[in-house]
Symmetry: D2
């Protein structure tokens, strides 16, 4: 039998706390899971430093990736059962697309690295490009498995993730405003943080989802389920993803890696403090193999070493990150922004290097984005299908979604050492500085 069609003699299941069971029916999926590139995702936390705020959020990109695969599989099953294509171009589901969809779902995050967002910021890597490379480079086990299906299969999978694949239904399963990726991470992050705001009715959404020529739409009678998903997503952003303490730990991580990069010539000396696996990145000469050796534990191992470094800033920031000593922060707005230089000044007077010990960070989310003809770039809007076959865009009939459409929700914050707020540790000398500083903070906001 062709490898492509090779089903397992007995479908294999993985017990999953969020989706109950994950069903694997194709040999190729099992083989992909067993590649070293995919196994590596076990060692990378899905939410990075958020587990410093929500201690339960210790789940990895491995479990999330299995989840996206499983939701995609369920979508395909529903489409096959209810909307199988009869002839080309009828806008219904062609199940020969299943395998490329499943592989793209499973691999959509394969290029994510340790503390991705921060890492990319410092080293200029791009996890999406790396995902493409892992899928298409003949050096990887992933590519070797995919290539057994056919010579173009790996490229097809990569193009789904790249949004350039020919079948928009497959693309939108993996990436749209209501896709398998977002649905899994909301449910899984909610489950693990304990923040039940992220819950929505997955079964119902899968039931009202349907293919059409333009991609994926939803039946009108499922409007409330889709609406609930949008609101849940918004709430998770506001309450979990944008949590000030998590962002604070990311600020520290960012500054720590920046400091290390600046000191990297000193670190390249073949002793216990040498971050061997990071050196290619410090030097800007890395390849995919270098990248794939990194994970959360590797970076943390170097940080643990760096706590003993002679460089005070490196040592202190490593200690703050490893031992969870977050910066404090206050919200500010356009009217109070002008105060920040003053605040930085106080912090400097208190003895901190403001390059490493202060930061501005904003977090804004667009809960839902309807089509705007004036914008160049836009996400797929959510279309609902009425009983007579006509379509209507979600924000046109949901008053709740309409209320948040196109609005950027979030805040802008100024981060600084918590020492600025507590004056216990025999630092009386600077007391006036602290008092001045604290006068500008009230109710978690920067004030005049």
């Amino acid at each position: 039998m062709e490898y492509q069609e090779k089903l397992l003699t007995r479908e294999k299941v993985f017990r999953d706390p969020v989706l109950n069971y994950i069903y694997v029916q194709h040999q190729v999926i099992l083989d992909l899971i067993n590649t070293k590139e995919f196994q590596r995702l076990r060692r990378i936390k899905q939410l990075g430093p958020a587990s410093f705020t929500f201690h339960g959020a210790e789940h990895s990109r491995f479990t999330h990736s299995l989840g996206v695969y499983e939701i995609t599989r369920r979508i395909c099953d529903g489409f096959l059962r209810n909307y199988p294509t009869q002839e080309a171009g009828d806008g219904l589901w062609d199940d020969s697309q299943r395998l490329v969809a499943l592989c793209a779902a499973l691999l959509h995050d394969i290029g994510h690295g340790a503390y991705s967002h921060t890492f990319e910021h410092i080293f200029g890597t791009n996890h999406e490009e790396i995902t493409q490379e892992i899928i298409t480079s003949p050096k990887t086990e992933v590519n070797q498995v995919l290539s057994k299906i056919g010579p173009n299969f790996a490229k097809d999978v990569a193009s789904v993730i790249d949004h350039t694949y020919s079948n928009p239904q497959v693309v939108q399963m993996i990436s749209s405003q209501c896709d398998a990726d977002r649905m899994d991470y909301l449910l899984r992050d909610a489950y693990n943080t304990g923040a039940n705001y992220g819950n929505f009715d997955l079964t119902r959404i899968l039931r009202v989802m349907r293919p059409y020529e333009g991609g994926i739409c939803f039946e009108i009678n499922g409007m409330h389920a889709v609406e609930d998903y949008i609101i849940s997503r918004l709430q998770m952003y506001m309450q979990v993803y944008f949590h000030p303490v998590s962002r604070s730990m990311e600020v520290i991580l960012d500054h720590l890696l920046r400091r290390a990069k600046e000191l990297s010539a000193n670190l390249d000396k073949n002793d216990s403090t040498t971050p061997y696996l990071l050196m290619p990145f410090f030097k800007g000469e890395f390849d995919i193999d270098d990248y794939l050796k990194l994970d959360d534990g590797v970076l943390n191992t170097y940080f643990i070493h760096w706590i003993d470094s002679d460089d005070k800033v490196l040592s202190d920031l490593a200690d703050r990150f490893i031992n969870r000593k977050p910066f404090k922060s206050v919200e500010f707005n356009d009217e109070t922004k002008y105060l920040i230089p003053n605040m930085r000044d106080y912090i400097k007077q208190a003895g901190f290097d403001v390059t490493y010990y202060t930061e501005i960070n904003n977090s804004f989310d667009l809960p839902y984005d309807a089509y705007d003809p004036n914008k160049k770039h836009h996400t797929t809007q959510i279309e609902l299908r009425r009983n007579d076959g006509s379509m209507i865009e979600l924000s046109k009939i949901s008053q709740l979604v309409s209320a948040v459409t196109g609005k950027h929700l979030g805040d802008e914050r100024f981060f600084f050492p918590k020492e600025m707020l507590s004056v216990d540790n025999n630092i009386d000398l600077f007391e006036p500085v602290y008092q001045e500083f604290q006068k500008h903070i009230k109710n978690d906001e920067l004030i005049n």
Copy 2:
């Protein structure tokens, strides 16, 4: 105010997926959580290699320790509300014992290290002794916090964990057949693996738990809840903790560390393959600081390096562990045990070093242990209190518990490379060996 009595101005909560919220009311608890020794528990998985089998089981000893603290806190609250002592010796609850109980609960696993069980086996460490040391050694932040309460407080906390503390109620809260530790790990492991067998009615158990002069007992009308807990625990052992694949990964880890230890002289050479933080252990000259630098990520980092080692066995075992390539296994019993030397022989003929590539491992649990006057060492039995105040031991009235009392449940397995079962990779030469080998395996058991 005394530090001891220093309550937080506003109780602090941690969102917890299993217990909903964890409530911290004492400054000392918050300070202990913020020590580096306690934060380190974030980097040690609760179930070790079990996450290779149950992918959701990625939770750390940090979250479990918070959970044990919280359950203990709830027990104290219940005891204070319903059974406050009136006079010394009345067998009721003296709430001045609360702080020592809470600290012991929080710190009971503080000495656990990376992959503890295996690590101890190879390096002769003992996590219980290390727990004592972390609590009582003036070098640790934990001890410094505890010592602020009073000069003997750290010792008291250590003695609770050591079972030598004077108040048996406090000891049994943390360690008995139905204690806060077991209750939290069952619920938490069930939640994260998705194996819902581990669930039982915590609220009800806490409600029927009560202090008495001998320690902790349960009201008779809660018999079914206690019974359900015992059965749940049994089921978790059978289905999760004793899972053959997890044990297989532990076997690989054990052999990997053993090999590394044997090669350790070679590894001490100041290059990228040097496991700096492990060297004290290879040399047998480590102190508490060395121990506290280790975590899962540090060990994994070395394993990742070792995949590139010149030593074939070290490299191969590291690859099997990091990239999850478990050994296979079969169950055997006293009647089939005699076949194992033959099986080992086949494996040797197939080219494997049987020292590193085979293992015997048994896992047996005693679901419930009633008092046996003939045994020297025995665990606390579960006592139920009747309406008239008399006690009756659990297995005497629960037919279900009685059925499993004193029985060792589990199995004994023989582990070997999965290559022995699949003959694809051009290894025809040895085919007869494989056939012989496979003839002795049927229905997951070793047969004649």
Copy 3:
């Protein structure tokens, strides 16, 4: 000991699927639960005809009333622990108010009758007035229990429900935009219908709730939990409480009782079709004893008898109600409203009495109501307390709540027999009528 302070020697618990356990500590609460007026609530469904749409919604007002009691009890516990009054007028919680709060919570729905809303519409009863009467009339067991506490206690309890009680904290616990009543029914209705939209984080809301001189407010850091509650409530209204099929069954019930009332002279004849227990209501001469004999089962029993009635309309409507044969409905708006007389005309031509077989019904909810100085009557707005003690009204900081504040969400529908949409049962004669009728219906809406 005073009856008032009489605590049960051992607190009693009721296993509750929604709140886990309901704790009863006072003798008076147990005695109230055991009165016949309270036990009668077991025989009255909480959601009335909604169980015809959501088959799981079979729970009674009895279970809901226990739930409101329990949530109130938890609020009191939280207030006592965290905000006990120090001196009169400090705006904190005076726990001597606990008993009146608990009794009011338990009894807030005691005056509800069988299919209350419809029953009141036809017979002019008022469940709120009856609640007052049951509490204050010496004829009831409820009043006899309350009077044991003190001569004015029953009146106090009644005044809480009447919103005239002196302590606004107690009043707002039971009745405000975020009270124990609403919180219990949302959770309970969500649990029983299976519509998980109704879920929100009760524990967190209880935690951030606090007393102040004006009643009850919420700490600012709980803003998201309160927001989530408001949205959940909105979603339950849209998806459960306003469901067209439930409203259709209520329309049928309303017309059935109306028809029976018109025929009541004929029904008063001492045979099997006589609705003895309803006769006082038909005659307009009922007292509290008559009212307390009615429940869902009693009304249904008469309906079952009426299916055999000689009156065709009475018989047919009884059959439609008992055997669940709902009317169909379409949404209309101000632009299409003018078509309804025509639609009624078609229905008349098809042989139906439009008085009994058509109806207009609208359902609108005000998801959240902020204070409007121009309105006479207004509900309590939700106040959030900032760290510095100042207050801010919810819709001023929640963009989500702000988006729905003061908006009436819902729809207006026209109900008619489903026979108008299906032309199977040999009714060809009228076919053109049906075609005309159906031309005006598209996508569940009335159209030109």
Copy 4:
């Protein structure tokens, strides 16, 4: 198209709190649900008087019947996907059997009446026979729907319920030691009572269930899931179904109906106390139409009337039942049984008619029944299928199940008025009698 094959153009779903959604795909299933005989099940509680103990247990036989249908549908789906028959007699699943299985599942309880067990005891009806009659009698709507499929279809459905149908797989789906009926009621009763002991892993059980020539068996790797189901079932019996208070309310109901039957000549007088719908049963001249008019509400309506009866016993028992005033009870055994006549004597001296005010009742369950060649009648044992295709009976490999196999668990109790235990209401005259009586009760047991 044939009615038999007529699928709904769009599958219909019912939101279900326990099974999430119930999927209806066949027109015949929807038509059966809409029959008046099936709708009547909404008015009959699944657990009868158990809701007096577990207030949440208010769910009806209607929701349970839908659940059994849905689980059966899922079994069929799994069998069709994984084990479709290739040729007659291969022991695999023939999906042309689906419709008869679904109808039998849906209708298996259609003959249940109001308070079935007690009703049958007093009036000699038999709900299983009535189920057969409802299915096969041309008078019922159910039969009319079934007959549209084919002339023998109704009989086939009836024979499944009767265990005489030719295909043992279909029979065992509906009735065996691990069938759709038991699985639904355990999950549903657990959900509604809140007693989470009843939970087990339905998804996994459905996954390991498979057809074979002898009926239905389970794959060996699902042994723990089946074991957990058996234990859950046992726990529900011990803790919910056998609860003494529920049994006490059943005793009262039994005696109440018995008294009414004795007085029935007096009740037949055409006034408000006449139980018109019960008269055919009092007279022993009822037919299926009479039976189908009864439900919980009808009986309760008569009981409410009877509270005003002149007959003191009838009035008092009706009051005890309607207003939940349970008898008390004590456990006894073979050694203490001899005391009961004395106890009855005390009760008589206290003024009660022991015929109506005392009762002996035992409740025993056989948690699991393995095949016993010496017994005539035996239930289907649970067979597990090993990898090599051979079978092994459950209790042979599960130590837990083995421990409870063939054991009758439960207790035997003596019921009496609670007045015997409390001597408040000015009944001093008899005080010695009460003291004597109470001397024989300790720790909820009858003692010497």
